[in-house]
Symmetry: C2
């Protein structure tokens, strides 16, 4: 099948660009130094490529992502980098046959993990992002509580997501260091051999973490690309022009094909005016015709991929693989 | 099953509120005067309730929505209120056994419909929203072209979506009238017995249309509720508090559970600080604990529902039905 034969909107991945991104990360952060985060692509076929690039472990944001990776034979070392107190889901994680580590940041999450039979945890530490994580000063106490319950504490985790506020490298590096200073306080109290942190935008700045939870690097997006120029956007929504007037043109890709929280998408040589449920209205530099194809580049890859059932991998104009986005949901 | 037994995040619908919304519309716009737009809920089980409320026809935004309605036995009179030139999808619509009408706004869309065997069309007219639709002065010519190709032209369609800019009723009414004046020009040239227009925010303002394409009214959302006070938000994302600190709390519902284009969601008696992929960080007026449930109200229902596999219908605390969101995709 050719790219032009796909019905639209279609989530399309440029295979060679993806492979180059994976190779770049595998060279910079080989083996266990990168624990790819599957939330960015939610696709076990892509995770298999990351494993083939040398990364044995994976990071996940939801229980279903963990269970899907385990079922796909990728269960060597799976980290749920998120808190849950759902007893059914925790039990499923404990019983899935994979090595599963979960994040904990409170008495309640430690206790829920223990009751469900979870065997390994990381203590999740607040390193400056307004989200989960215990105060660094509380990490040791939580580790003690987990160990007392028979759980192995592998170390600490702290996601410095706030550094994306700094597009410039120097202040971003400083922000990473400040965050990791907080994580170091926690690590001193917790111990273990895992310090899990980071992101695509800090993969080459964070020298404290033993492993980087990078997700976006594989497919990239227009919001993060300027902060990680070693990686190239590899995914777009292929759309068809369905209406043309003297004032604007419209393609069949909209809010239900694109995560919009990082802003509107980009169309090359065009100004994007409006995005509605199933439409993007744009003004192209060169006139387009009904039936023409356009590439709509998402600003944020994660919530974009989560809208799609499949991603189509192309090499040149050939669709060489069609991957189910099989880790959606919770 | 009880509401509290659902794993989260879960898309939850309050059944009595939904039924009240459906009854309100059925009283205001009975029978064919409302052609419910399924893009807002993408759920055939909910469409069956709309049919039971007396509306025989449906509006859809994608071919898959049309085909799904047809397969669900709801094919009495289906309108694809959108343009497509995809020959395979148009052929599938022509052959699905339902009465299918498609929107056309150009020579290319008329010709593609004719080639695929589509039997009925509406001429889609630009009435002021920067999206699809022909110039009103071109509508007659397009209707002639369709009729010359053997297609029945049922009338015109014009979606006055721009009126959502006016939250106050009086200027919104004026904007509806201006839009319908443009549609009237087209209708004079096209003829037929269908004038399809409107939305939940104009269902009681648009007196020109023979049928209103209202979608949001069934489930509603926080963005449109002030403009259609007869309808009450009936859908939220049920989330579990997974982390609590002295500064904020975090629940397990994020960008992949919520359409964000109309802004962040609302949590009662709380200030929403940040929404990330799988988290909402908020400051509650009254402290919450890990494990507590919160209701996260989406600002825009359509792209919210499109992220979910199911919607759970409750009456009181009982989950009385679990509906697959079976019209997702394209």
């Amino acid at each position: 099948m050719k790219l032009g034969d796909l019905s639209t909107p279609a989530l399309v991945v440029d295979g060679p660009t993806l492979d180059a991104n994976l190779a770049t990360m595998a060279a910079a952060r080989p083996g266990t130094q990168c624990r790819p985060h599957v939330k960015a692509h939610k696709t076990t076929a892509l995770a298999h490529r990351q494993a083939a690039a040398g990364h044995p472990g994976f990071t996940a944001a939801t229980p279903r992502e963990v269970l899907g990776l385990a079922a796909a034979g990728l269960g060597t070392d799976l980290l749920l980098a998120n808190e849950t107190v759902d007893p059914h889901r925790l039990a499923a994680l404990a019983e899935c046959g994979a090595r599963v580590t979960v994040a904990v940041d409170s008495d309640a999450t430690v206790d829920a993990a223990a009751v469900a039979g979870i065997r390994e945890v990381l203590v999740d530490v607040d390193v400056g992002l307004p989200r989960c994580g215990c105060d660094p000063s509380d990490a040791g106490r939580l580790a003690d509580r987990a160990r007392a319950a028979g759980i192995t504490v592998r170390g600490v985790m702290g996601y410095e997501g706030q550094v994306t506020l700094f597009e410039e490298r120097a202040p971003r590096a400083e922000a990473v260091d400040q965050a990791m200073a907080l994580l170091a306080v926690a690590y001193d109290a917790v111990g273990g051999d895992v310090i899990s942190a980071g992101a695509t935008v800090s993969y080459d700045l964070n020298t404290f973490a033993t492993e980087i939870q990078a997700g976006s690097y594989a497919l990239m997006d227009t919001a993060f690309a300027p902060m990680a120029p070693a990686f190239t956007p590899a995914v777009w929504v292929e759309a068809t022009v369905i209406s043309v007037s003297s004032r604007w043109s419209v393609a069949d890709c909209g809010l239900k094909s694109l995560g919009m929280d990082h802003g509107p998408p980009t169309i090359e040589d065009a100004r994007v005016l409006v995005v509605s449920d199933e439409h993007v209205t744009f003004q192209p530099a060169t006139p387009v015709r009904v039936g023409d194809r356009v590439r709509v580049w998402p600003a944020h890859v994660d919530p974009t991929v989560a809208y799609h059932e499949r991603m189509e991998v192309i090499v040149g104009e050939d669709v060489v693989e069609s991957w189910p986005v099989d880790l959606r949901g919770w």
